[in-house]
């Protein structure tokens, strides 16, 4: 499922990440960031390699991973839709955007569509409060949008 292999380029990168950081004090979080960048998420196989490489119990690695919202143990979609639920956006109705996104994509927050194209997450303030309510699809930021704008925006990513 995770497609983890010890024979691919990703694995080599993972080993490099561990190698460069293993003697840096307090580098676990950095290693997790960089590894997630490589794999898209942090499946158990990756966490095991990290735990062993840094000499930390797997339980501790997992405890750190699940503490921070940025880390995911589930795969994300090709397009990561992220709705800001910061105060400025909430006051301006971002919860309604989220509801509509869930409806349009047929999955709820934290999940990924069956075809692996889209996943939805809620995030804290991304600092674009001037454009509230805001959501992002990968690196594209959409500000000042209404629920009815959503089908049109999603359509751009569907094909």
């Amino acid at each position: 499922m995770s497609g983890f292999s010890e024979n691919d380029e990703k694995y080599q990168k993972l080993l490099e990440i561990i190698e460069t950081n293993k003697n840096v004090r307090g580098s676990l979080i950095r290693v997790l960031h960089d590894s997630q960048e490589v794999y898209g998420y942090l499946p158990i196989e990756v966490q095991k390699v990290i735990a062993e490489g840094l000499g930390v119990p797997l339980a501790e690695v997992y405890g750190v991973v699940t503490f921070y919202a940025q880390f995911s143990v589930k795969p994300k979609g090709d397009y990561r839709v992220s709705v800001c639920l910061g105060t400025a956006c909430y006051v301006k109705g971002s919860d309604k955007l989220l509801e509509r996104l869930e409806e349009e994509l047929g999955v709820s927050v934290g999940d990924c569509t069956a075809d692996g194209r889209f996943s939805i997450e809620a995030c804290r303030c991304i600092g674009a409060c001037g454009l509230a309510p805001v959501f992002t699809i990968n690196k594209d930021v959409y500000g000042k949008k209404e629920p009815d704008d959503i089908p049109g925006i999603l359509a751009k990513y569907r094909d």
Binding site: G26, Y68, F71, T87, G127, A128, L131
Partner: protein, 652 residues
Amino acid sequence: MITVKELNELRIKALPKIAVRKKVFEGRIPELAGRAAPEISPGDEKTYRVHVLCCAGTGCKSSGSDVLREEFERIIAKYGLQDDVQIVKTGCFGLCAEGPIVVIYPEDAMYCRVEASDIEEIVTEHIMNGRIVRRLLENPEAREGEGDVTDEDLEAGVFFRKQMRIALHNCGRINPEDIEEYVAAGGYQALAKALTEMTPDDVIKVMTDSGLRGRGGAGFPTGRKWLFAKNSVSDVKYVCCNADEGDPGAFMDRSVLEGDPHEVLEAMAIAGYAIGAGQGYIYVRAEYPTAIERLDIAIRQAEEYGILGDGIFGTDFSFRIELRLGAGAFVCGEETALMTSVEGHRGEPRPRPPFPAVKGLFAEPTILNNVETYANVPQIILKGADWFKSIGTEKSPGAKVFAVGGKIKNTGLVEVPMGTTLREIVYDIGGGIPNGKQFKAAQTGGPSGGCIPASLIDTPIDYDSLTQIGSMMGSGGLIVMDEDTCMVDIAKFFLEFTVEESCGKCPPCRIGTKRMYDILDKITRGEGELSDIDDLYELADAIKSSALCGLGQTAPNPVLSTLRYFKDEYVAHVVDKRCPAGVCKSLLQYNIDKEKCIGCGKCARNCPVDAISKTDYVAPGHKLPSLVIDSKKCVKCGVCMSGCKFGAVSKN
């Protein structure tokens, strides 16, 4: 490592880079005052007649400023102006709602809401023919005017007029990815002064005398914090920068990092010198990729230029800075939690004492200040404590950056002297509430803060007055709410945030906030009882007094402050089963006015739960019978109301 003399040579050499922008710099850079810009010794530097400053902050980027810059490049090339015009990528100007923003020098003409299609006009009219494009100007009065643009038209609009930029003084004015522009604008002079003309005690005395208080939370005096750390005896000490701006709705630190990263590096080095630390860590949110990138560039450049490293300015002081990324945890804004996170663990707070100044990061004496606090430091060193104290109020000197958002016209970043009233921020700078709605409250201090009601809108904003009225400064998020905002719902929103973001270590915060949330949820569902309100008070009290860290102790504030000023609204939910703002779904009822309904049936067709059916009644003047909503079936989605062209559907 360069010497102070070399730093000054670099400054002079780089001056042409910003000389065209003399209009904003002449006040503080003597070489730029009173002389025509291009006369400044051009040296080897290529100078340009025109500077186009494009905001590349997150707000404007989101509004498409990257595309804009490419378009500028294309059009400028088209007209062969490459040697005349330089495009500069800057940090945030603050007026995010009006983005993307472009400023053109030497005129200092600020254009708002610029679109790709406007650029040809800007280039041909303004840049080539000196005719400023009036319709895009920032100043709303100027936009209305006619004829040639005058100096008066170029004056900043109301949004900027009442501001006083200290922390943000370079934001939007220099290229944050070019250390030479920072140096040209007087950068690293404060570090040079501190290292060569002052003892660590002198530095701490200036900081103490200035009265600068931490810009990230409770407002602890910065000088005192440094003094404690200096007095701790240890070979190894650390300087940390809190760039984990977690308060939803606050983004001033992001703007400083994106717009003026060297300011923070310089301040950290000064702090390191003052307390005797050789290593700095900046803990920055992973959600701020642009800020991270620019910090990275800034650190690299400072090392390459011989400003950070071993033996700075020929002294025996060495200082290095490392970036550490947060990973999405609000609690890491708490100082001990931040340090635990830098150490690579779950970001859980530790009990204090021992305080970080005694035993902080990696168990060594550590100071932690936030980005905005640091951004004030170099200017205090250069201009002195008295200058800083002359701004703001007696107990809260200086200026403060606020991120103004929510139901307000001019959302964005503003820096105003402490003591400015909420009314000035909301109505003068912020332009008031859109759509003719009433101001109801402003929320400051994020999840640790509280709501300020309309009756207190003339409160001067400083640390102590905010605390007195049950809110707090926090990092400076200021969310404006209008009559459509339900205060119980807002309290619930913040509690939901805390329940999610609590580190989970101590029961009062981990469980207590959840119980409070449960009660609020019950109230917004219309199932509340009066005793629930008493329970909220009791829980709030217990959490405030017994939670492990500052964040837990302040978690009940949003509930307490809404209870204090909007108790009626709670009572309306509990006793009358009514949400006055019309927000709480369970308490809403949708009705069809049978006289207005023409019986077209659109609402019935759109209703997802078939809650709408025909009646026998045909209103006078209409042909078809009116419709009615079965409130038992209704899920309050509002589709009927938004779809009715005749205004026949209402909610209450």
